[in-house]
Amino acid sequence: MSFIEFRKTLKCFGPLTVLQDVDLSIDQGEVVVLVGPSGSGKSTLLRCINGLETITGGDVIVDGLSVKGGNRQLREIRQEAGMVFQQFNLFPQMTALQNVALGPRKVRGVAKAEALRQAGDMLAKVGLSEKGDHYPSELSGGQQQRVAIARALAVKPKVMLFDEPTSALDPELKQEVLSVMLQLAREGMTMVVVTHEMSFAKQVGTRLIFMEHGKIAVDGDPREVIDNPPNPRMKDFLSHVD
């Protein structure tokens, strides 16, 4: 069985069908890049993996656990699937170190001193060891997003989910976040990334999925499908990004 499995996954918001019977398998070590026009369901697909969206039908299995298995199982899934948001969502009342240490402390039960020490290591990994005592409001967008990545990594997940991680950033700040993501991918982290950064997809993506109207329209090798889109809608879409 694959690490992440969508089985005839259906997601509706009221009368609107956002995901239509999606079947998808993702193995460990894959770096899957999700693209598509807005409203195509790519963010929803991502958020169904860790249960931030409750699916309407079908099932999603992560490492053998179903998102429909109740709260306890859902929390286990979330500890295995770290998430990074478009708007960073750092806890504003906590310093960078405290943000990163919260998960290990309250979820993994790590003692405070040890959690803060580990958080320091995580911040060093994303190149922010000097910013540990800064509050989110004192950091740039790119720095905030790197803290957010460290926060997700601190819980020691097996897969990282990125929901348009660079969309809220100025062009010159995008690069520092992308390079952290590149490094993660090269270390073998399983990643599912919603993004418009085609250069990222080409550099480290092992798979590119183009979504349209809640369905997977294209699923292939990024280097092949970006240069030769097999679908006219994808071709049109690609001409509008980058």
Binding site: L52, R75, Q79, G82, F85, L102, S137, A152
Partner: protein, 218 residues
């Protein structure tokens, strides 16, 4: 009749005794009101259908009726209805608990719901149960937004205690009335009573300002 301020010092011990009763009712009433308000507010914000309906009914029932009617009900109607007899002081404290609780519930609900949903999602996404997200992330942020409207409610509740004159509780206003009944010094006595209230509400305002100042603005 001439205004003679020199009569006031003689009544200060009596006024202080009245003010003490006012403080007693307010403090106990608000402690209870905060507890009830926190529970009812969280039920409104995060409860299921039933919890929500219970809290909603309570809040609307209380906000829709005057506090004088509420305390009269507690003191005069409850003994008839349920054979529960309570003394005026308990009725007064209970009235503030129930009344302030309803308003504080709405303050709590508003403050919690005003915190960005993304922060809750970020907390859930690292695997925290919802109650921990509320306790460690949303709660501390909501608390900061709670203070200004809460201060407002504290002042309103303190002044509401003056209405318990109707069940004969010897608080500050009642004390003023008793002194008045003996010497008819309306200007002097009611001025003194008003100043007493201003000192009490002023102290509350300053305390809340200090708490607000000590916290980081977010």
């Amino acid at each position: 009749m001439q205004v003679d301020w020199s009569i006031i010092p003689g009544f200060i011990p009596q006024l202080i005794a009245g003010a003490k009763v006012t403080i007693y009712i307010t403090v106990l009433g608000l402690i209870g009101g905060i507890i009830i308000g926190l529970i009812a507010g969280l039920m409104r914000a995060y409860g299921g259908k039933i919890a929500n309906a219970i809290a909603f009914t309570y809040i609307e029932l209380i906000r829709g009726t005057p506090i004088v009617v509420q305390v009269m009900f507690l003191y005069f109607a409850l003994p008839v209805l349920a054979d529960i007899r309570i003394d005026p002081m308990s009725a007064a404290v209970l009235a503030i608990v129930v009344n302030a609780g309803a308003y504080i519930a709405e303050i709590v609900r508003g403050a919690f719901l005003s915190i960005s949903k993304g922060l809750t999602e970020a907390g859930l996404a690292i695997g925290m149960p919802h109650w921990k997200v509320l306790l460690y992330i949303v709660g501390p942020l909501a608390f900061r937004r709670l203070i200004p409207p809460l201060g407002n409610q504290f002042i309103v509740s303190l002044k509401d205690t003056s209405l318990f004159i109707v069940i004969g509780v010897g608080e500050l206003t009642r004390t003023g009335q008793e002194i008045m009944a003996a010497n008819f010094r309306a200007v002097e006595i009611w001025t003194a009573v008003a100043v007493c209230y201003l000192i009490l509400t002023g102290t509350m305002t300053i305390t809340l300002r200090l708490i607000e100042k000590r916290m980081r603005i977010l």
